[in-house]
Subunit: 219 residues, 2 copies
């Protein structure tokens, strides 16, 4: 059964034309239980770019993909605690989606934070192929940040910083791929608020085994 | 000493004209350590509407104010754990502010979740006056939601729901004020990312006693 929230979210993404409508915020928790939240860029569903031979296909193909740097604080936080919530506001259709779930990090092979080579659950998905696919989808300018000095250290002299990585820069691509990582978000519950009508409409969708329970609630 | 982040945030608020630029997301933590994040509406700084006679004036006047319903899940979460982070993206100036700090709830007097009448720290600020000020600042339509049935319960028949509370509806105002509450956010650390330049600029500001330490860092 396809998740009922997916069609609603796809419809919102198609109806809201501002680029910022592809940018939800992601909340996670630090090792000492402080909340953290930052804007991230939605890169699509797993099912947009890959197919799985697994019987659990729908579950995997509905997961949301974001890109990040293995050196970022959020990767360390997520490796330690994978609980997350996404908040997505769509200004043109006046809807808010809150998606609670689990975040996983697709790190480069042999990265020290990988516990073992098979730390992503068996899914029939080639994670390394998916990681490279999303790196190549980035603009040359966006790729370059994966070669910049370590995030959050005192700002280094920028004169030597790479500004773009083009398709033919195989050495730079190989180096950048040592930091480039994916975040994969598995949705477990949705809280959707529609502000168009007054009184507002609100519904929750909760996963129960393989199906979803949809309840309309007071806003 | 005025906090150095305040002028930067005020400048961003003045330069970004879309109404959604007044709407950051707030991340908090549930009692069982799950992250939660939702869009909230910024209502100004405490110093915009009140003055304090306290010697600690600057600290209080720089706090950010948001409005909420005492019956909402976020109020229960914040009463149990006041750690919060705000994420604010300004699309016109391409800046992100992340503000880490402490959230406090200004509940109606005699509310059962108030531990005692003086649970807000001594500040020389009249919290009940501030609460009423912000209620009266809302539109008649926005005021009405504080009389709707309990949030998150199965949706009730909407035929009897109040749609507006006008200034002369003293009985309705009095009832709505039993639910209307404020969130007050005290900033302890800032992470500001500017995307206009490439490489991007990023700075952190951390409170150290009564002063702020500003560091430019790699993005």
């Amino acid at each position: 059964m396809t998740a009922p929230w997916k069609a609603l979210l796809q419809q919102a993404l198609a109806s809201n034309t501002s680029p910022t409508s592809q940018w939800p915020t992601l909340a996670t928790i630090t090792h000492d239980y402080k909340p953290r939240v930052r804007t991230i860029v939605f890169r699509g569903f797993i099912g947009d770019t890959t197919t799985s031979s697994d019987t659990d296909r729908v579950r995997w193909e509905d997961m949301l993909v974001f890109t990040t740097d293995a050196r970022s604080a959020k990767v360390r936080e997520i490796v330690a605690n994978g609980s997350g919530e996404l908040c997505w506001y769509f200004p043109e259709t006046r809807e808010q989606f809150r998606l609670a779930g689990t975040v996983r990090v697709v790190l480069p092979p042999h990265h020290t934070m990988r516990i073992h080579e098979a730390d992503m659950p068996n899914s029939g998905i080639d994670w390394e192929e998916l990681r490279k696919h999303h790196f190549h989808n980035l603009s040359p300018g966006a790729r370059s940040q994966f070669l910049w000095p370590n995030p959050k250290q005192t700002r280094a002299d920028t004169s030597g910083w790479v500004q773009a990585i083009n398709d033919q820069d195989t050495q730079a691509i190989s180096e950048a791929l040592k930091n480039f990582s994916l975040l994969v978000f598995e949705v477990q519950g949705i809280d959707r608020l529609e502000l168009r009508e007054h009184p507002n409409r609100r519904m929750i969708m909760e996963k129960e085994g393989e199906s979803w329970r949809v309840t309309e609630i007071n806003p």
